[in-house]
């Protein structure tokens, strides 16, 4: 099946073992590549830069909030920083990160395909992302934008004199990059599965990416048209959202949140996919209730479209429609609950290994649970009136996005790093980083729940003195979290050179990606694999893979 385990020498200098990294060299072999694995690495680099940039804005905000009076930054600068933190983190990091980095690399291999359905569109997707990121950088350098990542009208169209046009145009372009990736994944999953790979033998990561692609495909266009209308209104001011000329600012909120709530499911669904993969691999057990977990991804994808106005309960929508959206918001919480309980049940009588990916995922399940249940607070109408637009909401969505998506992304990066680079990361450094991230995260965001219920509004440059102690705690946590995030960047790059060579299956896991060499050859498999075992069916998998795995 797979070639002999590569010797240290081969791996170090890459001769002899033909893989996608030493296939061909040179600047253009990367910038004009059509190989999904190289495009994934291009995305990895650009997304990480964006994460560091977003993290910088977050750190400046946290330091600013150490004192009640806004003394580090002027209020304008602070407004620009929280806006750019939102825009960079959401449009340029959270939405593309798992689908474009891990998904691009792993989906074709998990399906046993040579490449995605449309390699050229995949490269175009990365270039569109880079153009959008470039426009974003130009906007940041020449003065930033101060409307909040939500661009609420009439502030964004009439009262803000910052680069609203530039930022919305960058968001518009980034939307198309996201659509192309989604389209690629859907067509590849439907049309290019290996022989024998039926839908129920697919890894849960493929189910999650498929559900995410549906949400991308059906939500992003509405963001595109909303931003076009915003740009139109801002340039020629004709009253689409301007109340004096007959427009309705609440209509903008409807159309914006129609995209932006499904967008949070674009961010969390792939994270759930990584969680299912890692839980299965590090418990060496079938995920409990495989079909329930698979279909809950699709359920989230569908129900996610019906709940958007729970962001607008106090915005002036009618009381009756608020009830409809509140009820649907409770319905969308059920599939997430199913997933959490199924992951927990998988641990029963399993062989649980505490290696780094599993540590991140155990943290993920805990933090995602807290994030999810605090969503119930916000969906309960009477309570939402008090806690919306306060730090309670800020804590809620950071628990789901940072505690959820970023933790799962780090788990995924550590889990597939041997497959991507052929090198193992340093285990103990990684476990330390995981612990730092978990502790730092909780210290940063748990106090914000208390701040939120006390009534501290969000996006405040200066706040009432009695909130100071909790804010100091939160800033302390943020610095621990920052260290926790910098560590992986350091030791993963270090591992590129000095990491121990990883064989084809360092974790002894089940999955097509673990049957090919690490790093895999350009066409992923020497000959198209035939799948005869169920997803995560360890006994059958062990027989099929024979003894060459160093289990």
């Amino acid at each position: 099946m797979s070639t002999a385990t590569p010797t240290l020498l081969d791996v170090r200098f890459g001769q002899g073992v033909r893989n996608y990294l030493n296939e061909d060299y040179g600047f253009f072999s990367w910038l004009l590549t059509k190989d999904h694995k190289r495009i994934a690495i291009l995305y990895l680099i650009s997304v990480s830069i964006m994460f560091v940039l977003g993290g910088f804005f977050a750190m400046m905000m946290r330091v600013e909030l150490l004192t009640p009076e806004g003394d580090l930054l002027t209020s304008d600068t602070y407004n620009k920083f929280f806006t750019l933190h939102g825009v960079v983190m959401i449009f340029f990091f959270l939405i593309p990160v798992i689908p474009a980095v891990i998904g691009n690399f792993i989906l074709p291999i998990m399906l046993g395909a040579k490449d995605l359905a449309f390699p050229k569109l995949n490269l175009l997707s990365w270039y569109l992302y880079m153009i959008a990121a470039l426009i974003g950088l130009v906007v940041i350098i020449t003065g930033g934008v101060d409307t909040g990542w939500t661009f609420y009208t009439p502030f964004s169209t009439q009262y803000s004199n910052t680069h609203v046009f530039g930022t919305t145009f960058a968001g518009f372009i980034a939307g198309f990059s996201s659509i192309l990736t989604g389209l690629n994944f859907i067509v590849t999953t439907h049309r290019m599965r290996a022989p024998g790979l039926t839908w129920y033998r697919l890894p849960l990561m493929v189910w999650a990416l498929y559900a995410t692609s549906i949400v991308i495909l059906l939500a992003t266009p509405v963001l595109a048209i909303t931003l076009v209308m915003l740009m139109l209104e801002r340039t020629i001011g004709v009253g689409i959202f301007d109340p004096a000329l007959g427009g309705d600012p609440v209509l903008y909120q409807h159309m914006f949140w129609f995209y932006s709530h499904p967008a949070v499911y674009i961010m969390i669904l792939p994270a759930m996919g990584v969680a299912s993969e890692v839980v299965a691999a590090f418990t060496r057990k079938k995920i409990f209730g495989y079909s329930f977990v698979a279909y809950s991804s699709l359920a989230i994808a569908f129900l996610g479209f019906l709940v958007w106005a729970h962001h607008m309960f106090v915005a002036g929508i009618s009381t009756y429609s608020a009830m409809i959206f509140a009820f649907l918001s409770f319905c969308v919480a059920v599939p997430s609950a199913i997933k959490v309980f199924n992951w927990t049940a998988t641990l029963y009588r399993a062989s649980v290994s505490w290696q780094t990916p599993m540590m991140y995922i155990l943290g993920f399940i805990g933090l995602f649970t807290i994030g999810g249940v605090t969503g119930l607070f916000l969906a309960a109408l009477g309570l939402d009136v008090h806690v919306t637009d306060t730090y309670f909401v800020v804590a809620h969505f950071h628990y789901v996005m940072v505690g959820g998506t970023v933790m799962a992304y780090l788990a995924g990066i550590h889990y597939w790093w041997p497959k991507i680079t052929g090198k193992m990361y340093p285990e103990w450094w990684a476990r330390l980083a995981a612990l730092l991230v978990f502790v730092g995260f909780n210290l940063t965001f748990f106090p914000q729940f208390v701040l939120g219920y006390l009534g501290m509004p969000r996006r405040y440059h200066a706040y009432a003195p009695e909130f100071q102690v909790l804010n100091v705690l939160s800033t302390a946590g943020a610095s621990v979290l920052a260290v926790g995030y910098i560590l992986p960047i350091v030791y993963l790059i270090w591992a590129l050179k000095f990491g121990r060579p990883a064989g084809p299956n360092p974790w002894g896991a089940v999955g097509l990606e673990w049957t090919t060499s690490s790093p895999p050859p350009k066409e992923n498999f020497h000959e198209t694999p035939v799948v005869s075992w169920d997803a995560y069916d360890y006994p059958a998998m062990m027989k099929a893979m024979g003894e060459t795995q160093n289990v």
């Binding site: 502030f155 009262y159 060496r284 409990f288 002036g316 919480a333 049940a345 939402d384 219920y453 360890y538």
Partner: protein
Amino acid sequence: MMLTDFPLFPEQASTVAGDVDNLFIFLCVLTGTVSVLVFITIFFLAIKYRRTPTNELAQDYEPPHLLELAWIVIPSIIFVGIFVWGSWLYFHLARVPNHAIPIYATGKQWMWKFQHATGQREINMLHVPVNRPIEITMASEDVIHSLYFPAFRVKADVLPSRYRKMWFQATKTGRYHIFCAEYCGTLHSGMIGWVEVMEPTEYQKWLAGGAEGSLASQGEQLFQKYACNTCHTNDATGRGPILAGVYGNDVMLSDNTVVKADDNYVRESILNPRAKIVKGFSPIMPIFQGQVSEDDLMKLLAYVRSLGSTKQPINPPESPQSFQSNAGAVTPQTTTQPKGNQP
């Protein structure tokens, strides 16, 4: 700021605060136990079945699949319960109790302006009596703001396009925060203030102090200033509908639809009078959009409301045709049923 006496739970200073906090504490307890149970199960199982040389491969055993049904049905039932409780509270917040003290709030980029029915005007400060329902009718002059009283657990966005109502009933005297909760620009964090809840006697003393004539009386002066009384006279001779007893009742429009004369109807009839024309009258009223400021609009509204919403008998005093409208000859109308005269 001593490090010890920072609050961990907000003060309960309104009737609604208790209910909201009960729901909050119930949810904290419920979700707290669920989360802790999940954490304990995870770490217990992860330690009990950790990978050891003897436990290299997971046992091929799965808990009963009935569990799946359990954690679909049970959460759904609980969620419906929370939904009903939350919705009941939301409706309670939305229904303004009658006989509430009307206060008019205007959100303007980075300040709150409150106007009492008795004429007092305050900026970023609001004096209210304790144990009395307070109804705030609010509009914004520029962007979307959000009037937020954390101690009363109430919040509502203030829109530039229309009036919105919000109410609370303070139960404890004292000074409580007012915040702007919807991002509105540079000094969003500066758009804050204090609400002063006072004993009724103190409140009366405060009211007596700074009165410059009730809001309604100021509204009446504006009513003269904008020459509204030339058409809206108290008898049927005027070319505009009689305003006494209009507020709060139904009005028949020229296209025979019936509309309730609420705040937004009055506001629209001042700003865009021709949008809804009362049956039997011609659309000759000039547009005041852009000429009447938000504060004056509220004074006029207070004046129209002060004209009472009970239908007074109309006894037209014999008054000579006081003027000759320039828009063509005005045929004297019969006193009983004012029929529309075509311009």
